[in-house]
Amino acid sequence: MAAPPLIRGTDLSKVYGTLTALNNTNFTLMPSEVRALIGANGAGKSTLIKILTGAIAPTSGTVEISGTPVALGDPRAMIRNGLACIYQHANLAPDLSVLDNIFLGRQPTSRFGLVNTKAQRSEAQALMARHGIEVDVDVPVGNLPTVKQKEVEILKALALNARIILMDEPTAWLSASEVTKLHETVRALKSTGVGIVYISHVLDEIFAVCDTLTILRDGKVVAETDVAKINRPSVVELMVGEKLARDSAQASSKNRHPRGTGEIGLSVRNLTKHGVYRDISFDLYAGEILCITGLIGSKRTELLQTLFGTVKSDSGTVSVTGAPAVFRKPSHAMARGIGLVPEDRHRDGLMLGMTVTENLALATLAKFLHGLFLSSKGMAEAARASIADLSIRPPDGRHEVGLLSGGNQQKVLVGKWLNLAPKVLILDEPTVGVDVGAKAEIYGILRRERERGKAILVVSSDLEEVLTIADRIAVMVSGSLVALHDAGAIGSKELVREIGGIAA
């Protein structure tokens, strides 16, 4: 081998407190190589990527780029060394033109410090010609389809002389034909010597576009191989690991309540929103936890928003405890006994500057009303009860929610909705950004509420979570519900295949 690897990461470890996110990992990428990086949630993928992009410094280990050791934990040094990362969500200024976006922050200037548009234009044209990309550079980026925006991001990276491009779930927001287009771009990049790290959950894509494959599990590399030398079942097995397969088998044998009490809490029939989700039908029973799982971009959140009255469906029906329901806003859904714990607790859920007591009462202020006035005593009492019930720490309702840990914030958010005493409780990714201890507590709360007869609908991308708490599991792929299983009747491997849209 003449050329040194573009990246060589050696013995990389990252320890957070008692948690080892990444454990003595080696990682290499050669010029003109497309390497897939895969693993379940929490396997250490994001940690490795953050180390490579310089967002965090590893606890130990070294990274060489083209044979030269580089400073770690310094994003700008990584960019100077020719590494760029393209994230799931576009990182562009939507109102600026493609040209301005490509050169944002470092426009070539003429004398007098004016932007040299001509130089920009010719540089952009040259890049596009060399890498087989075609975009109208004068259009505002926001007007372009998502796949073209990805190409703009790639151009932006190339204009910075990037030789290494990390793509984090690049196809999460793309349609099937757009995915094909993006893969053509990837191949064109490869032919010019660029190395690409391709991070994805979708096995089809990995087999279509990648040369090599690194599988992470529990912070360790469990496989490193040519894509040609491995088949899908082995990939799935390596991703999931024997442990989860065993755990889920154990969990399934005890204490599952598919269809709960047999009483229907929420019934959805043929629910369709054009271009988003289609023909969704399922029944959610009182006394069960139904998990909907799927990839990011499979439109699960949009479905929940319809069930809670913030997004209108085009056709189909929803009924609650047997009676038809049409919700035009959240208060309608709440009046019918539906509560929604949103995915993004900071954006959609909590008032970070307000107290725990106020946050807990916010969905149920009417309960504390005496004539025109709010009973602050009543609110404080209810808060004390919730704090004890949910073990919120510190156990003081006067604290600002913003000062609590992520897990306790999440408990406050769940408590706010439990105070509504809903018949149907919907939770979107209920344990994102929550530590292991709080996760277990939240699962305990959900199981207890199930025993109390609530119908619980959970959307989660975390397979381990789904296999841990679900009584039944539904799989959503690109806006369709493709399967609905009793949790005991399906293993993690089959589930991974279904989620990836691969026929069993």
């Binding site: 809670f308 913030t310 806003k329 959240p330 208060s331 709440m334 929604l340 949103p342 954006r347 959609d348 859920g349 909590l350 008032m351 970070l352 500057g353 307000m354 106020e358 009462a361 916010l362 969905a363 202020l365 009417a366 009303l369 025109l372 006035f373 709010l374 602050s376 720490r393 510190p394 003081d396 604290h399 600002e400 000062l403 609590l404 840990s405 706010k416």
Partner: protein, 317 residues
């Protein structure tokens, strides 16, 4: 660690809660040492009387600012309410109806502000800038350029110029409005909702609240407060005039609210502390008047003090 951050936060809270009253006392001490006339009962009542109008408006517009909004239209609302009251008096309406008519004019402007801002989701600064202009124009059409004298209306004159238990009635009105608004903030759902919208409007909506109705209500309250100030002023000076509440009125009102610690970005705020902000500004201008500081220097000093106070407040955060 959590307990630590919490206790540090509560220390910061304590300093923040007491900084403004302390600053007022320090400034009063400085003024009274340099000029004995400052610390006389007559002058102190004078300060309260001078701040009553701005105070009523500031107290009534605090909710607007807490929701992340702003109301620039208070000056012309003050003027048009005085004119409406004047014409109602001319029409020999009973006093209650006169007051109601004046307040209604202000409530209407506030309602329109709130409705446009909430339903069309336009930026409050632009919407109230437009109604500022429209309301001033409407006041000029209604009243023309001339002064309208309010003569031989003892009951109406009592509103602004009367005395009750030895204090001017305008001070009493300010006190009652402030007490009522403090109670609304502390003990009604509106107080919680306003803070919730300012903190996270989306989450408030997703908690089942009608955020647009709340917004319409807070702008209506703001407009009504400005109209009340307009009625009091026309009663004090026995005149209604279309150019009352000149440019700068709204800035004094906003300055008082922000000095009281309400975030201009919305979120947390306190009506009780707005009252302190009002007195802080009132004491400064009264003291400088007594010390014969020229008006140009006064303006510069006032602006500097506002900027310094805000810089200190944000540093402490």
């Amino acid at each position: 660690m959590n307990a630590d951050t919490a206790s540090r936060a509560s220390n910061v809270e304590r300093i923040k809660a007491n900084a403004l009253p302390l600053a007022i006392l320090v400034i009063m001490a400085i003024f009274s040492l340099t000029e004995p006339a400052f610390l006389t009962p007559g002058n102190l009542v004078g300060i309260a009387r001078q701040v009553a109008l701005i105070g009523i408006m500031a107290v009534c517009t605090t909710f607007v600012i807490m929701t992340g909004g702003i109301d620039l239209s208070v000056g012309p609302v003050l003027a048009i309410a005085g004119l409406v009251a004047y014409f109602a008096l001319q029409a020999d309406l009973p006093l209650v109806m006169v007051i109601f008519a004046g307040l209604f004019a202000g409530a209407l402007v506030g309602f329109v502000n709130g409705a446009i801002i909430a339903l069309l989701q336009l930026p409050p600064i632009i919407v109230t800038l437009a109604t500022l202009s429209i309301t001033r124009g409407a006041a000029l059409i209604l009243g023309g350029p001339e002064q309208h004298l309010i003569r031989d209306e003892p009951a109406y004159s009592f509103i602004g110029a009367g005395n009750f238990l030895g204090l001017p009635s305008s001070i009493w009105i300010f006190a009652v409005v402030a007490a009522a608004m403090i109670m609304v903030q502390r003990a009604t759902p509106l107080g919680v909702l306003v803070a919730a919208i300012g903190n996270n409007e989306r989450a408030a909506y997703l908690s089942g609240h009608s955020t647009w109705a709340t917004k319409v209500l807070v702008y209506t309250i703001s407009g009504t407060g400005a109209a009340l100030a307009g009625i009091i002023q026309s009663s004090q000076v026995h005149t209604a005039l279309a150019t009352y509440g000149p440019f700068g009125t709204e800035l004094d009102v906003i300055a008082a609210v922000v000095l009281g610690g309400t975030s201009i970005m919305g979120g947390n705020g306190s009506i009780a502390r707005t009252v302190l902000g009002v007195f802080f500004l009132g004491v400064i201008s009264n003291g400088m008047n007594i010390l014969n500081v020229p008006i140009d220097v006064q303006l510069i000093a006032k602006g500097t003090i506002i900027a310094l106070a805000l810089a200190l407040a944000s540093r402490r955060q």
